[in-house]
């Protein structure tokens, strides 16, 4: 099966959304911090065991309030990746309420949670301590800088969307 799906990358400002996309699509890590204004769209094909998924990735400007995202940005999304920054508690303190709000807006969309910037965490103990403070367990700890688990978040989202697509 070959399908095309719109997916969004969401999360607070400067958590690394654009860098994750850049690493996934172009295998590059932008060393300089660039702020996304509005949105940017990229495309990449993910090959799974039996299926091919064309991901059309909407990189949406960082927002602290989900309600402030223009609703047309989210219309038609089949899935989204919610990104938090392991080094900044403010990006995951309200994760439950933010995901709850997103589930209300994107009722049928699949979600993958990425805890980014794991390369900046100095030890396994520190990482576990931070993860303990995040009220929802992330699917992956990622690093756009090193590439750690970056492909995995997109592959997992593609697999989840295919699974739902086949069950309908």
């Amino acid at each position: 099966m070959e399908i095309s799906k719109k997916v969004a990358i969401l999360g607070s400002h400067a958590v690394g959304k654009t860098s994750l996309i850049s690493r996934f699509v172009e295998q590059k890590f932008p060393e300089k911090y660039l702020t996304t204004i509005g949105l940017k769209v990229d495309k990449k094909t993910v090959k799974l065991d039996k299926d091919v998924v064309d991901l059309v990735i909407w990189d949406i400007a960082g927002q602290d309030e989900i309600a402030s995202i223009p609703h047309y940005y989210l219309n038609g999304c089949s899935g989204y990746i919610f990104v938090v920054d392991l080094t900044r508690p403010s990006t995951y303190e309200n994760i439950q309420s933010q995901l709850l709000m997103l589930r209300g807006i994107l009722r049928d969309a699949e979600v993958v949670i990425a805890a980014n910037k794991v390369d900046l965490i100095e030890s396994e103990e520190e990482q576990q301590e931070i993860l303990h403070n995040i009220s929802i367990t992330p699917d992956f700890c990622t690093s756009a800088k090193t590439g750690e688990h970056v492909d995995d978040i997109f592959h997992k989202l593609a697999e989840k969307m295919i699974s739902v697509h086949e069950s309908r």
Binding site: H13, Y33, T35, G38, V41, V56, Y72, G76
Partner: protein
């Protein structure tokens, strides 16, 4: 020269209007931002991933429905790269057609981008200082 002519003269190089059928086939366009003559007859859904990714949403557009508005889209229209305010709506005279309008606001959004970047960096510095 009439005011409307002056207005159109100003907008001519700042905006582009592309008309396409509901199956995505582009049928007409002005060339205010980029010359897309070679793309007429081809599918906007195939050529522009942004448009293709919302084709199910576009299918729901009627002449009574409000336009779909996508502000501040970083976009490449052939050789014209910039920040565009984009909107889609059903053609008022022919509901079988959809209209895609791009308005170039690159200089404005680049300015906003600089301001936003400064604010974000300042907020992150404050967060780090608290820890």
């Amino acid at each position: 020269m009439k005011v409307d002519e002056l207005k159109l003269g100003v907008l001519d190089t700042l905006a582009q209007v592309i008309v396409f059928e509901r199956n995505g086939t582009m049928v007409d366009s002005c060339h205010g931002l980029a010359d897309i003559s070679a793309l007429i007859g081809q599918s906007a859904f195939d050529i522009f991933p942004l448009v293709g990714s919302i084709k199910e949403v576009l299918a729901g557009l009627t002449t009574e429905a409000p336009p779909i508005k996508l502000p501040a889209v970083e976009f490449l229209l052939i050789d014209k790269k910039g920040y565009f305010d984009i909107q889609f709506f059903a053609h008022p005279a022919n509901p079988d057609l959809l209209v895609w309008v791009l308005v170039d606001n690159t200089s404005l959004y680049e300015y906003f981008g600089k301001i936003q970047k400064e604010r974000n960096l300042l907020r992150m510095e404050k967060e780090q200082a608290k820890r």
